[in-house]
């Protein structure tokens, strides 16, 4: 109950938007019968109808199936990146803040190196190593994201290590896991959650950006950024088809941003 009471209206709205997108992605995956890659050149740019709910694209592919695939892909990437980055950042952050010394120095050096480059440049370079690889995008994005968790967790852990409460528990002989759970994690939880919501938005954005500059996933994969750049030439012919990936991207990021917002 306490959790529910602290959720703001904006966060509810964000949750609702994301839930709708998840439902769409899952239901389309379970019940959608169309193949997102099947071309029917006779059926280019059909308007939405009972057969093709979202119309068809420039190759007559079902846009419902393609949007389903694209949203699933974005959500999957976002969840994978955020979970990896958060666990890596929290784990290493606690270790660095707890141990100090050379562990701390070495990890900080790593962080400074990652931060020396704008995130997208790093992701683009990773994407260049294996073209069209989902895994490389995931690795690149996760590497740019974990740094934020690390810095936050390290700072808070350092501060908590000095607190009388933790030192008392420590002297009473409680184990490390208890100390972390009882004294460090409560101070982290809400901020980590905010970072995760922002991180999900960044991950979605980064994949769309690599698709948009045409160095991310390769056709015929349905990916939001790639779809936008592929459909752009047909703007005059079929604006509603181009609008779909734009709207989906907008809703994904808006949902995450709203979820991350704090009561003012």
């Amino acid at each position: 109950m306490r959790l529910i009471n602290t959720v703001t209206r904006r966060q509810w709205l964000g949750t609702a938007i994301l839930l709708v997108l998840v439902l769409f992605a899952v239901l389309e995956g379970l019940f959608g019968s169309a193949d997102p890659a099947r071309q029917q050149l006779m059926n280019r740019f059909l308007a939405p109808s009972a057969e093709h709910w979202l119309g068809t694209d420039q190759f007559g592919r079902s846009n419902l199936a393609r949007m389903g695939e694209a949203v699933r892909l974005s959500l999957l990437l976002a969840v994978m990146c955020v979970v990896t980055a958060a666990s890596l950042g929290i784990g290493l952050g606690v270790v660095a803040g707890w141990r100090g010394g050379w562990t701390d120095k070495a990890l900080n050096f790593l962080v400074t190196t990652v931060l020396a480059l704008p995130g997208l440049v790093l992701v683009l370079l990773f994407a260049a190593i294996v073209p069209g690889s989902f895994v490389m995008l995931y690795v690149g994005i996760a590497i740019t994201l974990w740094v934020e968790y690390f810095r936050l967790v390290r700072a808070i852990t350092q501060q908590r290590m000095q607190s009388p409460q933790l030192q008392a528990s420590n002297m009473l002989g409680f184990g490390r896991w208890y100390l972390f759970k009882r004294h460090i994690w409560p101070g982290l939880a809400s901020q980590v959650f905010t970072l995760m919501a922002f991180g999900a938005a960044s991950a979605v954005l980064a994949m769309a950006a690599t698709g948009f500059v045409y160095v991310g996933l390769k056709p015929p994969t349905a990916e939001l950024g790639l779809m936008i750049v592929e459909l752009f030439p047909y703007y005059a012919e079929a604006p509603w088809v181009l609008a779909q990936p734009l709207v989906a991207l907008f809703l994904l990021i808006l949902g995450c941003n709203l979820l991350a917002s704090k009561p003012s």
Partner: protein, 340 residues
């Protein structure tokens, strides 16, 4: 006058960033070179001389030129050594020196960066101040809504919408191209709007904090006019967090430049970078990424310097500890939160 210690600290930190950045890029592009599929020498020879003109001799000369005939670790050291000497090599596709290409592109990117910054300041300052002075009223809510809607879109979506609006429907501006000033308007507008969506909220929050502070209220109470209070007690205090946040916005700026240059076919470094990645032109990838990184570091250093000048308290802390970084990225989160 800024104390020398503060300046030295600032420069040292940014120099370290520059070295780390170059090392990271050098390492990744080295992996890239080693992981090109097939016999690299033949592949590159084919790209350079055409598929019909490959001979073993041509491949051998490529092999020798690129240092492919030595063990990996030695190759890596050579690779980094060349990088340190700023010997970026020739493009694998066109054969031209990479530096030569980049010099051309840098001027276009700089033009875009400055024009974008200008637009963002012209938008963000009046909007942010207005929203700050009329906090929690109509204008403030409107600016929050606009900012939320723009921030929920990637830079290229905003660019596409502007194209539809200004170039296609009412045909005021050219969609893409370069050479004349009017070609710069849409890209700069896109970049400026995206950055202003964030910085206007920072200015708004900073304005609210300052105008509600005790010293500001006191200045009004002692009889200064609104304008005087604002000029003498407001401007500088409001601008401290705003400029500090600019440092974090450089990430946005660089990322925005990459997407905008692709969208508008603007012949800058970001465009060169994505093109080079697409055609797997490794020396060009390295050069473009390096220059992007340098731009990032230089802008960050400038922002640091302005922060020091605006807020003398930082100079004190800089000379006592080396931990004073006005634009450390923990500010990112707080700034993001503050903006919501």
């Amino acid at each position: 006058m800024m104390p020398a210690a503060a300046i030295r600290n600032l420069l040292l930190r940014r120099l370290l960033q520059l070295l780390l950045m170059a090392w990271a890029i050098g390492t990744i592009t080295f992996v890239l070179v080693r992981s090109l599929p097939g016999d690299m020498a033949y592949r590159i020879a084919a790209e350079r001389y055409g598929d019909d003109a490959i001979t073993t001799a041509a491949a051998a000369s490529v092999r020798q030129e690129l240092g492919l005939d030595v063990p990996a670790w030695q190759h890596y050291l050579n690779w980094l050594l060349e990088l340190v000497q700023l010997n970026l090599g020739n493009s694998l596709v066109s054969g031209d020196p990479v530096i030569h290409n980049l010099q051309h592109q840098l001027s276009y990117t700089l033009a875009l960066v400055f024009a974008g910054l200008l637009v963002s300041l012209l938008l963000a300052i009046p909007i942010g101040l207005l929203a700050g002075f009329k906090a929690n009223r109509g204008a403030d809510h409107l600016s929050l809504l606009a900012s939320t809607l723009i921030r929920a879109q990637p830079v290229f979506s905003v660019g596409l919408l502007l194209i539809f609006l200004l170039a296609m429907n009412i045909q005021w501006l050219p969609v893409a191209g370069f050479g004349e000033l009017k070609h710069l308007i849409l890209p700069a507008l896109t970049l400026g709007i995206c950055m202003a969506a964030v910085s206007s909220r920072i200015i708004r929050n900073s304005t609210v904090d300052v105008t509600r502070s005790a010293y500001y209220q006191f200045a009004r109470v002692k009889g200064l006019s609104r304008w005087h209070t604002f000029v003498h007690h407001g401007v500088r205090n409001i601008s401290v967090p705003v400029v500090a946040y600019l440092g974090i916005q450089t990430v946005m700026l660089i990322e925005g430049v990459i997407m905008i240059e692709s969208l508008f076919a603007w012949p800058g470094i970001g465009h060169a970078l994505s093109h080079a990645i697409f055609s797997r032109d490794v020396p060009m990838i390295q050069g473009a990424a390096l220059l992007m990184g340098m731009l990032f570091v230089v802008i960050n250093a400038l922002v640091d310097a302005i922060c020091l000048w605006l807020d003398p308290r930082l100079q004190l802390s800089a000379s006592t500890s080396n931990n004073a970084s006005p634009t450390n990225s923990t500010g990112k989160k707080t700034a993001q939160e503050a903006s919501l």
